[in-house]
Symmetry: C2
Subunit: 133 residues, 2 copies
DNA sequence: GTAAACCTGCGTGTGACTAACAGGTCAAGG
DNA sequence: CCTTGACCTGTTAGTCACACGCAGGTTTAC
């Protein structure tokens, strides 16, 4: 009952993304036989909402596709969902630490550089600021 | 005086990456006219070290290319370097906050789900765990 | 002489889109 | 009836920093 633009406005997801989800099979809209336009119904609306909800929890689109497929076969996706989340939490803990380290290195460098003059390249040094790290 | 593999072993950078840097112009090795192999000298070694040092401080390869080029023209890259770093620090602060938020959402979800049973898909719900968020 | 370990360029894949292209469709207004 | 503008279609390229694999040539050691 809705076109791409309708669904986009209704959901706040760009029409580009809606078409992208259709292309990779996350959404399976019908087609208007007169002009080939995609047509979405209430099921698609809630699917789309589900996709964004899952994404906001850190799920990748591939994982969402898995979940959707499992669910479509009549199986409960919940165990898989719990496992993915546990795994993602571990990964994220790692990434967080790396980013914190990076942030510290960057801030330390900026302070360290505050007292250093700019230097001209001299053939064996590109930028002594960076090389001083 | 060194081939790709020599430089790779010497620096701990994979030979794939060394060739990649050559391809995008970060390294400009000479060529052995007999067989077309790349040959690297001391300058390339320090360039490569500079690249990795800059990367570890959060610079992108494109930025490194800019810096190298500026430096190659005889200008001091230092002002640009300071500016990029300041900018990167701001960006990273943002990213860190987002990741922290995500981590909280994920951990909260896992706790929240601990008391919930697995459910079967019933046509209008895919996974009540995710949809309960 | 042959096997292992190198080298070459090039093309594909990663994630989740965004942007752009060329062309078709549709509703409203003059 | 015609135009304008906003939509639609599929496809392709771009993002980042590589990893991996291909087919084929080279070098080194035994």
């Amino acid at each position: 009952m809705m076109t791409v633009a309708d669904l986009s406005k209704h959901s706040g997801v760009t029409s580009h993304a809606v078409r992208y989800y259709s292309r990779i099979g996350l959404l399976k809209p019908g087609r208007n036989p007169e002009n080939g336009y995609r047509i979405f119904d209430r099921t698609d609306i809630s699917r789309l909402r589900f996709i964004r909800q899952a994404q906001s929890l850190g799920f990748t689109l591939e994982e969402v596709a898995d979940i959707l497929e499992e669910s479509g076969k009549g199986n409960s996706p919940c165990p898989k969902v719990r496992e993915i989340l546990r795994h993602r939490i571990e990964e994220n803990r790692h990434k967080l630490e790396e980013l914190k380290n990076l942030q510290e290195r960057m801030e330390h460098a900026l302070v360290h550089w505050a007292g250093m003059p700019d230097g001209m390249p001299d053939g064996h040094s590109v930028c002594h600021l960076i090389e001083s790290g």
